[in-house]
Amino acid sequence: MFKRILIANRGEIAVRIIKTCRRLGIETCLVYSTADRESLGVKLADIAICIGPPQAKASYLNINNIIAAAELADVDAIHPGFGFLAENSHFAQVVRDCQIEFIGPTSAAMDALGNKAKAKTLAHQTGVPTVPGSTGPVKGQEEAIRIAREIGYPVLIKATAGGGGRGMRVAHNDASLVSGLIAAQREAEAAFGCGDCIIEAFVQRARHIEIQVIGDKHGNLVALGERDCSTQRRHQKLVEESPSPVITPETRARMCADAVALARAAGYHNAGTVEFIYDLDRKAYYFLEMNTRIQVEHPVTEMVTDLDLIELMIRVAAGEPLPFRQEDVRPRGHAIEVRINAEDWQNGFAPAPGKLALYVPPSGKGVRVDSHCYTGYVIPPHYDSMIAKLIVHGADRSEALRILDRALAEYYIEGVKTTLGFHQRLIRDPRFVNNEVTTKWVDEVFCKA
């Protein structure tokens, strides 16, 4: 096992990793920018080394200075957390070239899955469902109608050269397909000089469902169930939960098997997440992308499986085999995570960094708070605005929601605006309670009201 790990990150995930390392008896070295001198991670780490000024490019993305710190502190491994360099295969390679273990997958696996188009091709080859559509530009109206009927309406007409919504049309039947195709081809011809269009299934009411996988270096790969992250605002996840309230056990089992198959095809080890879009109308899921790192919302999986994913990442990176098999994974109860950000949610979610005049997190059975904040801490303006992740666990979804409601009410933060009030309103909304949420609901319905 490693003696000393460098954490190339900041904020709550740095604190999260330090806690697990301390429990495992592993020393920690945290690198930090001058803006994070007073951060909790710097206070808690065994060693802290300043690597640059506030701008991420010169500090948390500064591979040179991070490697220099790793050599200075004589560490065995580097945990990249999420964001920053976590999915940078070049960084992973440099780290390994320095005889330091990178706690994550191989650079090759990161490359194979990091590029969306490559990953989609691999998924297709592995038999993992992707959004169905024409294999190339449609030749004419007859082919378009044949394909659309195969897929089932509604379908999306998309210019191959397009982008930014230009040359895109939704068709709900043959007639609107024909007229839409003509319009889209004309628009694409005018805009991009090429009128080629493809057709694919249009997902009108989508849920975002992702599968957590973890693998060791001995070929063992296991799926740890799903997280439903459909409550999003501008593609930013706001709430994550497990199990998903909208899929059947059979669908879950197929998604898990597909996620493992894809990871295996890429020669994947360590923690990763396979993201799917779930079509509520077609009751089908399609591969979106794979994240080759730990996710912000990993505690949701930890709460239902009673596993420590950071510990597992470290153990498998150190060469240990996974200590359980797929059939041992039996998630229990229901977990929900909400992200508490320093944002003025009543004013377009504008970031509201500043000093926490009072910070008192809630506590109690089924309540977990992952945070790097404390009373008096100043949230710097240079990075994300996250204050904490509040995660609750109950026997079922309604108990989890009751615990969450109470925990939100007992969260005392003064000095900055937060999204606590947003979440209080959100989780009492009957449409949220009754699982009527789609990925567009917050933007198009909830925030409009």
């Binding site: 001198r37 710097v42 065994d46 060693i47 080394i49 690597i51 220099a68 050599e71």
Partner: protein, 168 residues
Amino acid sequence: MDIKILKDITKLMNDNDLVEVEVESKGLKIKLRKAAAVAPPPPPSAAVLHAHPPLPAPPAPPVGPLPAAAAAAPAPAAAPPARSGDDPSWKPIISPIPGTVYLKPNPDAPPFVTEGSPVDPSKVVCLVEAMKVFNEIKPEPGVSGQIKRICVSDGQPVEYGTVLFLVG
């Protein structure tokens, strides 16, 4: 405690125009403030710290066990804080990278600079070794004059922002 010590300190204050004195004994804490002085803000990067134990001194031993448990130990500053004689107008030369400082081009050579040496942005003042690369450190554009203080010792580990020299 004897009243006499208070009297002595008060006299010191009167004689030296001090408006504030703070003394602590165990572990030594002293704070003196002059009438006119609004405490000058420390140079932006003078307070660079290692969180808990000091960095292990390279060349690193094969296994450099850090006193990991001594988490409550006071944080030693990478660079000594401003001395009483320091002039707040002096400009710092900081380390741009974590590494090891070398004040001489090689062990037998004289140091790049000594206190009093004239420097300007073309002059190498020391090396910071990181990843086997010896980075030449020069004053930033606009920083020239004399080396007023050398704030680090040869072979000392430094981090980003550690003040290496003060130039005035």
